[in-house]
Amino acid sequence: MTMLKALTKQKKIILLTALVLLTVCLLYLLPQLNASNYQYFLNKRGTKIIAILLTGFSIGVSALSFQTITNNKLITPNVMGLESLYMFIQTFIIFIWGSKELSMMTSYTQFFLSIGFMMMASWGLFNLVFKKENQDIYRLVLTGMVLGSLFGGLSSFMQVLLDPNEFTILQGKMFASFNNVNVSLLGISCLLILPCSYILIKDRHALNVLSLGRSSSINLGVNYYRLVKRQLMMSAVLISISTALVGPITFLGILVVSLTRKLLNTYRHQEMMIEVTLLSGTFLLAATYLVERVFSFNTTVSVIINFIGGVYFIYLIIKERQK
């Protein structure tokens, strides 16, 4: 008890969230287990939980870092159009070669193809728009938005021309799902997430300073141009991983980052990063639980998350307007 009292308010909230996440994990993991089936179920459910935590981490911290970089509380890396690019790649493959080819492709090929394209696109965009002489972050974001809607438009153009059977297969890729997470991809994702985590840990203090704004952070000796570029590339990698792993979940980032800011009320990224990961894990897992046990697969995780996140986003905008 005395130990609990020594903790700061932030650490208590983090601890509490961790407990909630643990409870949800157990709720998901344990039901209907018995001596004969436990190996099968634990393996299956455990894999899903790992995938969910990886996705939660990727989406959460990339959204947090992106908000700090852009100094804006209402946007997440999704506005940069990476998810539209992902959808475009999937649609394009089916459109050109047909769904057979897509299902024939090994998961590795697909994974690296999608991630490779998304990273190349982000790298090209940063180098074209975000220049040393013209460090205008909003120009970068707006260019990303325009390109995002271009890819979205192209995708839906190709989708209308598709054979209905092929379209059904494509549709499976358009909604986030943890049902067919490929175990072999989890290892690769972990490997890609590792350097990102290293960058985040290394940059955590610099990110704290960056939340003061561009000129203040330059004044305090942060190499703004390099930091922003590194963090943006990292966000692109993380978003690519989570999208390729489970599919697009647009409103999760904004939901968990806003909640984290509200709950912790701190500038310290080291604490916010932990909380944001725990929260997004909790939301994703709870949504998966609902989909599987309550709605018996009649809906998808992205529908539930986007519903909650979307409503919360509207609330945020209304509140922001009243200020």
């Binding site: 100094n71 939340s211 203040s216 000796g221 500038y267």
Partner: protein, 252 residues
């Protein structure tokens, strides 16, 4: 010492600064004056490395700006520009603590804490320490930001229009603090100020810009004269001396 050589800045082919050469004196309050759009803030931002120049060189203690390591330079030179809205809520103490970042990289030591306390005391903000910045008045917030720069403990301190939107009480308080920084702590302070009487009363050295060029520079006594000011601002000024200080009247 700060030396500026042939510095040029161009926005969309429109030159804002045109081959500026200037050498700044040490341990003085140096005021940049001139009408709107003459490049004062641009020059200050370029020397303070928040803006990239298109040509020329800036030497801080004989080393070119681009060759300084960002972290090292932040220990020698600080610049305070119009405070941006931050997405996080900070208390005065937390903000001032950020000033120690170049020295501590985020982990505050005992010594850092002393610097923070001293800076807060210097600006008489002790009673506001734990208050959030968004609860303060504009003047108090500006004082808090100056305390942050003070905690940074750099030799050169640049302030871009620090008196903007402040009442007389806060404006004079800030100018007195800057005076003390030079007289007691031997700092070199560079400011952009619009009110010519604040410049005349508090500064030691004046650099005047007009259309991207330096049109006059020298000690305050050399610049605060009707003929020089007429050339800088294109308006007639009457100058009166009260208790050894010159005041400019330009309301006619």
């Amino acid at each position: 010492m700060i030396e500026v050589k042939q510095v040029t800045k161009v926005y969309d082919q429109f030159p804002v600064l045109n081959e500026i050469d200037v050498c700044l004196p040490e341990e003085k309050i140096i005021a940049f004056i001139g009408s709107n759009g003459t490049g004062k803030s641009t020059l200050l931002s370029i020397i303070g490395r928040t803006l990239e120049k298109n040509g020329g060189h800036v030497y801080i203690d004989d080393i070119e700006l681009a060759l300084w390591k960002s972290q090292e330079l932040a220990k020698h030179l600080s610049i305070l520009q119009q405070a941006q809205q931050s997405i996080v809520r900070l208390t005065v103490e937390e903000l001032v603590g950020f000033g120690r970042f170049p020295h501590s990289q985020g982990r505050l030591s005992q010594e850092d804490q002393q610097h923070i306390n001293r800076a807060i005391a210097y600006l008489e903000l002790d009673h506001l320490r734990t208050r959030y910045l968004d609860e303060l008045s504009g003047g108090q917030r500006q004082l808090a930001y100056i305390a942050m720069v003070l905690a940074q403990d750099s030799h050169y301190i640049f302030l871009d229009e620090p008196l903007n939107n402040l009442d007389m009480k806060h404006a004079t308080q800030i100018m007195k603090v800057l005076r003390k920084l030079v007289d007691e702590l031997h700092k070199t302070v560079l400011v952009v100020i619009h009110d010519i009487n604040f410049v005349s009363y508090y500064s030691d050295h004046i650099i005047a810009l007009k259309e991207g060029k330096i049109v006059a520079q020298g000690s305050t006594d050399e610049i605060i004269r009707p003929d020089v000011l007429k050339e800088i601002y294109d308006i007639e000024m009457t100058i009166k001396e009260i208790d050894g200080k010159r005041f400019c009247l330009y309301f006619e």
